[in-house]
């Protein structure tokens, strides 16, 4: 316990001296993939061994399955995902005209369910929702995250950046305290990555399953002993928006594998 507080102190001191706002330099941008062991990298690289592909498989079935009062499948409007959904995950979260706010892929799938299929929204982190999201995001695998162009998203992204840099929780740490200032070093036995969202939804060995970016963000918040935002909270979407801007240029890896 004392060691943990000591660590918090060291991290705190480092952030004070180095100014967290600096961020990650362009040449130093590295996907979480690069920080993993060779064995875990091999697991992600082989589609036959990557357990995330099980969710892609389920997502493909769900894509073609009619749902709700409208009795229509995703494929009924969008057709073949390999064509219509290519590149979509790379530019989400995107601006949603109806609510005037950014929405992520999960939010878009659920709002599409409500508006077009007239079906109940899928529960956060349910297998079906994760499978659909993974399937859609998988269509963009290998595509780099494009630069942000939608000006309407700027204020939300700024808020995401502010959240990323705000200290929270009993440990009084911000996201930036670890992922900007101390990436590449170790926290306990694990390497601190740069917090890039390019592999989500991903298979985490610790979870023994696929999880969303919001689950990961909530995990980190609990880790610094802060009250996490609820699934689908606007703050989480704003954080996602900022993370996507930060990861610009990195290829989508969905479904990634992480330790």
């Amino acid at each position: 316990m004392r060691a943990l507080w000591g660590l918090a102190g060291v991290v705190g001191a480092l952030t004070c001296s180095m100014v967290a706002a600096a961020g990650i330099k362009d040449g130093e941008k590295r996907s979480g993939f690069d920080f993993m062991t060779r064995e875990t990298q091999a697991l992600q690289a082989d589609d036959m061994a990557n357990p995330g592909m099980l969710w892609v498989l389920q997502g493909e079935q769900l894509w073609h399955q009619a749902e709700g009062k409208a009795e229509i499948a995703c494929a009924g409007c969008h057709g073949e995902a390999s064509q219509t959904m290519r590149g979509v995950a790379a530019r989400y979260p995107a601006y949603d005209e109806a609510t005037g706010r950014p929405t992520d892929l999960v939010g878009r799938i659920n709002s599409c369910r409500a508006a077009r299929q007239e079906a109940e929204p899928l529960a956060p982190e349910s297998d079906a929702l994760l499978a659909l999201t993974t399937y859609v995001a998988h269509q963009s695998r290998g595509m780099p995250i494009p630069p942000a162009t939608d000006a309407r998203l700027a204020p939300f992204r700024d808020n995401g950046r502010r959240l990323f840099q705000s200290r929270i929780g009993q440990l009084d740490l911000s996201c930036a305290s670890c992922h900007h200032t101390n990436w590449g070093k170790r926290l306990g036995g694990s390497v601190i990555p740069q917090a890039h969202p390019n592999g989500y939804p991903l298979y985490r060995l610790e979870w023994q399953g696929v999880g969303s970016l919001q689950r990961r963000l909530r995990n980190c918040m609990v880790g610094v002993r802060a009250e996490p935002f609820a699934f689908g909270a606007p703050e989480l979407v704003e954080l996602e928006l900022y993370l996507m801007e930060q990861a610009q240029g990195l290829p989508i890896e969905t479904p990634a594998v992480r330790p």
Binding site: M48, P51, L54, Q58, Q208
Partner: protein, 107 residues
């Protein structure tokens, strides 16, 4: 939920060739030792037996135990003898048996 499994069998091989067969099954492999959020035990739910038959004859089987992680990945090798169906079956704690299969062409 329907069974989800990824099986990988080489499609066309030469007679006598040693081929690698891979199977990955979506399954929680719940150990029975964990406690849920309400304090009650989560009941055990694991795949007990996995078997593979080649042309109707059982050529490989495995017993699985609670220490096996979720979504088990099983790989083994076979000597390709005749063209036919490689069928996989697995049985879980509920006694439910699920199947998957792939065709192999031997020349």
């Amino acid at each position: 939920m329907t069974a989800r499994a990824l099986v990988n069998v080489p499609k066309a091989v030469k007679q006598g060739e040693v081929v690698e067969i891979k199977a990955m099954i979506a399954h929680p492999m719940e150990t029975g030792y964990r406690v849920g959020p309400n304090g009650t035990n989560i009941p055990r739910d694991i795949i007990r037996r996995f078997a593979c038959s080649y042309g109707g004859e059982e050529v490989f089987w495995a017993d699985l135990y609670p220490a096996v992680s979720a979504n088990p990945f099983i790989a083994f090798t076979l000597v390709a003898s005749t063209s036919g169906t490689i069928a996989f079956t697995w049985t879980d704690d509920a006694g439910e048996t699920q199947t998957a299969s792939a065709e192999i062409t031997v020349s």
